[in-house]
Symmetry: C2
Subunit: 329 residues, 2 copies
């Protein structure tokens, strides 16, 4: 039996009422690339926008194997036990061909999936980087409008996803493992300086000593970084998502952050900047698309890039000349 398509009004009502099924369909609508759907999702978003902004937005990243799912499950459960409604959004690497999430099953967070105070949504990443950002932001805003108090945005470290997620959350948490010495952890350059906290997972059993050591090392390292203008000095915690230890401290740290940043006005200021940055990123991306997808430019580009790479043609002259071509049209 085919589902009836919901009107925009029904979607708005359902989202604002906190109806999970309708929320899911609203998010799906926003992910659609069809022009009718784009118009409808625009209207939907505009209508619910005044009801957004009231949640704690937390980004969670870390390399595969660090235990993100277990952490989100355990930490997420704790959050619901504080009486909060939790939404979890994941940025999955999507297959360009199937245009769907390859990590589409929620079963990696089974317990949380059954938790009535939690809502889990893997988001399709779409075909453009900006697509990832817009879809995830829109999903986040819809969840807020639906009454969720805390939003986790998980990123699995593909492409520029950490930077994008960092640009839309209040608090950015980096999950790490305790290494045996100088173990390379595979995270990308620049991520550590983005983090508001480093949480060292799997601090259990025989690994506890190593976790303690790693904590001290990271604390020293983070102290050497320049301090963010918010005044917040990134903290280091250890936890065991498996044994459920250390998670209370993580929650306390985040709530402390949130209240401090509300008091000193940084939270509001930061969100304003994020909005403007998102605007400019979108403009930049659309301009780039218009340029690089222009037929004449696309035809000329490989040869030009080859000459630029080899140093035969100065890059700024090459850019200038192609630009003249483009602006003529």
């Amino acid at each position: 039996m085919k589902r009836r398509k919901l009107t925009t009004e029904e979607l708005i009502e359902g989202v604002l009422a906190g109806d999970r099924l309708i929320l899911s369909r609203a998010i799906t609508l926003c992910e659609s690339q069809k022009s009718d759907d784009i118009r409808a999702s625009e209207a939907l978003l505009k209508a619910v926008l005044p009801h957004t902004g009231k949640s704690m937005r937390i980004g969670i990243t870390g390399v595969p194997g660090v235990g993100k799912s277990t952490f989100i499950e355990s930490f997420g459960t704790l959050v619901t036990e504080q009486g909060k409604k939790l939404a979890v959004l994941t940025i999955d690497p999507s297959s360009q061909k199937t245009k769907g999430s390859i990590l589409g099953d929620k079963t990696r967070m089974e317990e949380l999936a059954r938790n009535p105070s939690a809502f889990i949504r893997p988001s399709a990443s779409g075909s453009a980087l900006g697509g990832v950002s817009s879809k995830t932001r829109e999903a986040m805003l819809l969840c807020e409008a639906a009454g969720f108090d805390v939003i986790f945005i998980e990123t699995v470290g593909v492409g520029q996803s950490e930077t994008l997620v960092h640009g839309m959350v209040d608090f950015f948490l980096l999950l790490m493992l305790a290494g045996a010495g100088d173990e390379l952890q595979g995270i990308k350059k620049g991520i550590m300086e983005m983090a508001d906290a480093v949480v060292i997972n799997k601090a259990d059993g025989e690994n506890q000593k190593a976790a303690k050591r790693a904590k001290a090392e990271y604390q020293s390292a983070l102290h050497l970084f320049p301090v963010d203008e918010s005044g917040w000095i990134p903290q280091v915690k250890t936890c065991s998502a498996l044994e459920n230890t250390g998670l209370n401290e993580v929650w306390e740290m985040i709530t402390k952050y949130q209240s401090t940043m509300h008091s000193n006005g940084f939270l509001v200021e930061n969100r304003k900047r994020q909005q403007v940055a998102w605007f400019r990123e979108n403009v930049s991306e659309m301009l780039g698309q218009a340029f690089y997808q222009n037929q004449e430019i696309a035809d000329l580009l490989p040869e030009i890039l080859s000459q630029v790479e080899s140093g035969a043609l100065p890059a700024n002259s090459a850019a200038y000349n192609l630009m003249q071509q483009f602006l003529k049209n």
Copy 2:
């Protein structure tokens, strides 16, 4: 007596012959915004381009007060004592009104200025960020064509200058001071992860112990960062530019880096990527200019941004609508 204007041929000849006066005038030509000069400088650059690429390109940054001038003077002198010809380019914060360098005097590196093997040039930053990058790159290329073996590009930490300089050099050196404990050093976020080396200056007199301690702290911290794909692990050195100690070790480190990166092909690969990135940055910047300087867009923008900031209008919708407006023209 007014100087005769040189023809492009004379400029090309003079640069390739290593004539300092003509090199200076060639760099000035490239800084000019007049359309005749832009055409002439394009021709000049194209002609000398085959003679570039053979120098060591070293970026040097650090906060005001860290002793960059003294360091460049002492370290630069050492470089010339190895038989190398050295060019020093500085990115000065320029006054928009005077369109000139406010740190225009070379007297802060007096000894080096008198050194026959050295050439010092403060570059005007121009009116656009892309302007900074292009002018400095062009000056660098001209210096290479004129036969200089080592090029220092100094940045004084304004705006995005570190990122720009990092994008055009082979080796990026961060000059720091030994702090008393957790002294905040005022460097911008992201700079530490860019550095190929941290050099702790003023390691003299009573400050030697502190410098040693700081060295150990930074070494631990840098070890925790992800390793660059080049395989190079950033090193930490101490030196006293004033007393001329530790500078040999800095030079050895850089020459080791250079030879390793030549052997494993990373240097060539990295330079290719820098060229392409420079191309894309220029395209992006010119597209942005065309958009934001469009009269209709400029008129609509303040109100749109205000709505985006306040959250009244979704940023991606705002961007999309403005883009439609722009593409119609």
